[in-house]
Amino acid sequence: MDEAQIEAGVQRAAEALAPDVVRIRFSLGEDWTGDPSVFFRVVLSNEASRFEHLGKIADGIEAKITKEGKPEEMGLNYYFSFRSEAEQADLREAAWA
């Protein structure tokens, strides 16, 4: 698998998805069944994470990241986690910074 290719795709997606997307981080590993996987962590603007918008916005974000990062072509399962800027400010997790 080409981590640099995913990184480049994620950067392109993050630029295209601003300002709804504040940043995207990812890590590689295995899912619970041992399949190789990429785990995307997406920090959303507070506005984009409002519940009335979230479903549609997150659908678009997932589609864009998948298109740019191409995890499926690399034989990777891919998973997304989302949080708002305010939630990350509260939790201050390094993996999301």
Partner: protein
Amino acid sequence: MAFADDLLEQAKHLAFRERKRPRQASLRRAVSTAYYALFHLLISESTLNWKRPDQRAVLARLFEHGRMKSASDKQRAECSRFIDSIPPPDPGVRLDCMRHLHLIADTFVKTQQRRHIADYDNATQWTRTDAFRLITNVESAFASWQVIRDEPAAQAYLLSLLGNPKGI
């Protein structure tokens, strides 16, 4: 209301149980419950095909998380191949069905992974945004299922959830 619908409603209730600062226990149970809503929806729809109602609960116990994930992985890939084929497939019932089926299988795989983390990984911090997103995914899968539940491809997917007959 069916059990699966009740679970989905309960997942939403848990995600919004605390007004201000959601407890990790509420969010983790919300995520797990949303997964189980989809898990039980698919199993109950599968067992409806069994002629004897009194045996359906026993049949339901034959479904396993891992096998259902493998079947959903396979279904998702098959749907992707069809949707992205060149030349593009003609618009119509089959294409719509494959899109809905892709959403359902994809949601099953992704939600199952998140449920595993929610149930067993104490290091992960959940947020309401994340839990709510997962619940909206499951809601979309429920809606898609209602559209395609009588389609042959949807019924074949249900059967595949029991596992590969060759045991591979």
